[in-house]
Symmetry: D2
Subunit: 263 residues, 4 copies
């Protein structure tokens, strides 16, 4: 029976069986966060340090109680940061709160409306963080030149958006994502913009190494059921990628694949 | 934990847990047919009576040895029939070979190149078969008017194509499939044209009740792994449909969903 | 300077310079009908016999006063007919009103909501009309088998829909339209569903011989300006088709065209 | 009769009637360059200073003989430059060759294979050129944050790519182009990646102010006819944009536009 067990995702030297990374915001309560994260089968969970309590407020519920660090790899992120300085400061705070934990997800946003990344500030912050010993997984646009530069700089994973954060539009530019994937020597994880299960499967079929999502699960009508759907979609897309799909042809009897003029 | 167990597919009064129906042709040998069918988790398997040995040739390997009727619902089909008469005759032969089994998949093809259905001959054959006591699952185009007529005539499931048989192009006309699904009182199963896992997930997310495929699995480089991918994709798409996806918006902060002008 | 003058559209032996056929309904008044038709450069205008006055009511404004038959080829259509009988009767009425005029546009609708064609009734009506001496241009679905049958039966032009009448969705199934075009020996005109100029250009680039539209022009905010846009779009698409577009490639430097996996 | 005359494109204070800008490379000879440019109706023509002779080699044919500066606005570009320094130097050379002409098209490429722009070097070069008195029209990615920054810096037009130079793929990310257009106070011209007439029309329908293209015309089988097609497509798309298209709906009878789930 085929399985996923010989096909780990390796980030910064650590092996993961799951290729679905999840966010922890937007759930109605911590119990829903816990249940959806479990249904997603996530091993890496990302936490917005500026918005989530992981110990900053000792008198409030701590997210780490439902997502214990001995079970999940905690990935602090810099959501809400609009400058390199803010993002760097936020990563340092996270490291302190998490006892020296170096793995972070960097995002430096360009604009409050679209939450599109500011790639020049992102490059600057990534450089500073890497020099300071962080292992940087980096949210970026789908610009293949910027993606390559972030890899060359030493980021441990590059995370291009599919579409704007929270939009649910799915991959807008397949060309760029394929270009990034083909040129990469580090994991490429699609981050942001996935809306439903097929969007996640498509990302995996294109050769992405994983997908990170939050809104698509947390804002679905039934988040826990959607988490299960996403888990299966990620595995389905990965297996389809590895299995080698049939070529697209106009007919079963056509001798050569489509040249792609219209389909 | 969410699961699929309370969400059976019901065809002609029988409940199935799996929504993935598979074909049995194009595999390299019977062992691969068996392994892929098992990995797909299929409960209904369709067999081209004109091309497969289910007892017509007692001296050759019998497909039913690897797909035993006590484990699988055998769905004889009329692949290769270009007239209503041929299709009806083939169904009768199948019934005889299968000891009175009434469930059949009707297909009457219009053309050897595209294998597109001949809808007028299909209507004619369906009428004859239903009068003769068959339970007809019917392959058709994505024409909503014809689909409705086939349902009204008494077909137990209507099976519009996604794209030409063996093309791997995925759903070409989402408008028509949605129209058919919304108007239907019998199961709508997408039949033909699926290429990869996301294509199957999309069909399910649109509200289809199931998908039948053959080439996408059998002609993949690794058919057994692709069968597993398809199983998960069907479940993922179904769960996503039930879970209620997030609306598509231009931004997380946008107050209303997209009006669909360009995305 | 390249021009369109050596590239006429020939329907039933008559040459037309324009490949844009227009409907005459939904305008705010007859003057707007006249102005938009002129801006569109249409030579063939279609008239819903059941809804437009071309002489049935001598006391009301007559559409033929603004669209005189000595300047335009009048194409009576059977909009609003849901049976073959109704459609045949309407064509006969038109012939009478127009002094023996034989060219008609047949449409037999299947459903009041979608206005999708009823292809079996369409086949029946076409046969009757052709036997009775009509030159039948026929509105149909995008089913390639039905389209071919209508041609073989003697229809002088086959007019598959792009999308439902009045939807403005553009061509939903490019595969089928290309299939119809490649197999045809009579003009293929896309009828219904065009929303904007690029939709019309795409139809022409795919090799269609012309486009018929009504809502896209008449229901635009500025119908006369949209008529001008459509005229240019049809010419642009036709010229692009004749000029031979560049192949799609991933890069300028790529040696071979895309195999069409994702673009 | 509607016309384009009251709808000029204004770049750096100069009015143009044509919204189609053309490149001058890849033609088989200067006569074809001349004929295609004329058929395109272009008023602004861009010239790769590193590849075209506009006086650098007094003994060879001079491009300006067929495209005289008293008839066309010459737009020198920095094609082939991979650093900010190279691009700046090339612009200065152009200014010298063209007697103080300040209008330039800046492009700084990131990679020889895809010819994708290097946005950080582009920002740097744009800043230098603007300080030095150039009027900069700037080729960039479709990143809305970068596009806005280039505008704020003082570029007189921002020119996002549709797809890679020479690919003929058409607009890959409509979301980003719309975002750029809606936020802009300077003309947005789509530059690179257009393949055929409908691609150009779509860009205009989305509200772009113009399109610059070279390969799509010069590498078509009949470049002069394609130039004519592109002229009409640009006008068609612009007029359709101004005319206000019909909303997309599932049926003519549907009361509200589509919410964009699948079409």
């Amino acid at each position: 029976m085929p399985n996923m067990q010989n096909d780990p995702l390796v980030i910064a030297g650590t092996e993961y069986q799951s290729r679905l990374l999840t966010g922890t915001g937007k759930y109605k309560d911590l119990e829903e966060t816990r249940a959806a994260t479990e249904a997603a089968g996530a091993e890496i969970v990302t936490i917005a340090i500026r918005r989530s309590n992981i110990g900053q407020n000792p008198n409030e519920p701590n997210l780490l109680e439902v997502l214990p660090p001995d079970r999940y790899t905690i990935l602090p992120n810099t959501a809400g940061c609009y400058t390199a300085e803010d993002a760097v400061r936020t990563c340092k705070l996270a490291r302190e709160l998490l006892d020296g934990h170096n793995l972070v997800k960097l995002e430096v946003l360009g604009d409050e409306k679209t939450l599109y990344p500011d790639v020049t500030a992102t490059l600057e912050a990534a450089e500073t963080l890497i020099k300071d010993g962080f292992q940087v997984m980096v949210y970026t646009s789908d610009d293949p030149i910027i993606a390559k530069r972030l890899e060359e700089m030493g980021c441990v994973a590059v995370m291009p958006l599919a579409a704007p954060i929270g939009s649910g539009l799915g991959i807008q530019n397949r060309y760029n994502i394929i270009e990034i994937v083909e040129n990469a020597n580090v994991p490429i994880l699609v981050d942001a913009g996935v809306g439903t299960a097929s969007d996640a499967a498509i990302a995996m079929e294109m050769g992405c190494d994983g997908v990170l999502m939050n809104t698509a699960i947390a804002a679905a009508k039934d988040p826990v059921l959607m988490a299960s759907a996403m888990k299966k979609a990620i595995e389905a897309g990965r297996e389809a990628y590895r299995a080698g799909r049939v070529p697209r042809k106009r007919y079963a009897s056509a001798s050569s694949p489509l040249e792609g003029t219209f389909f």
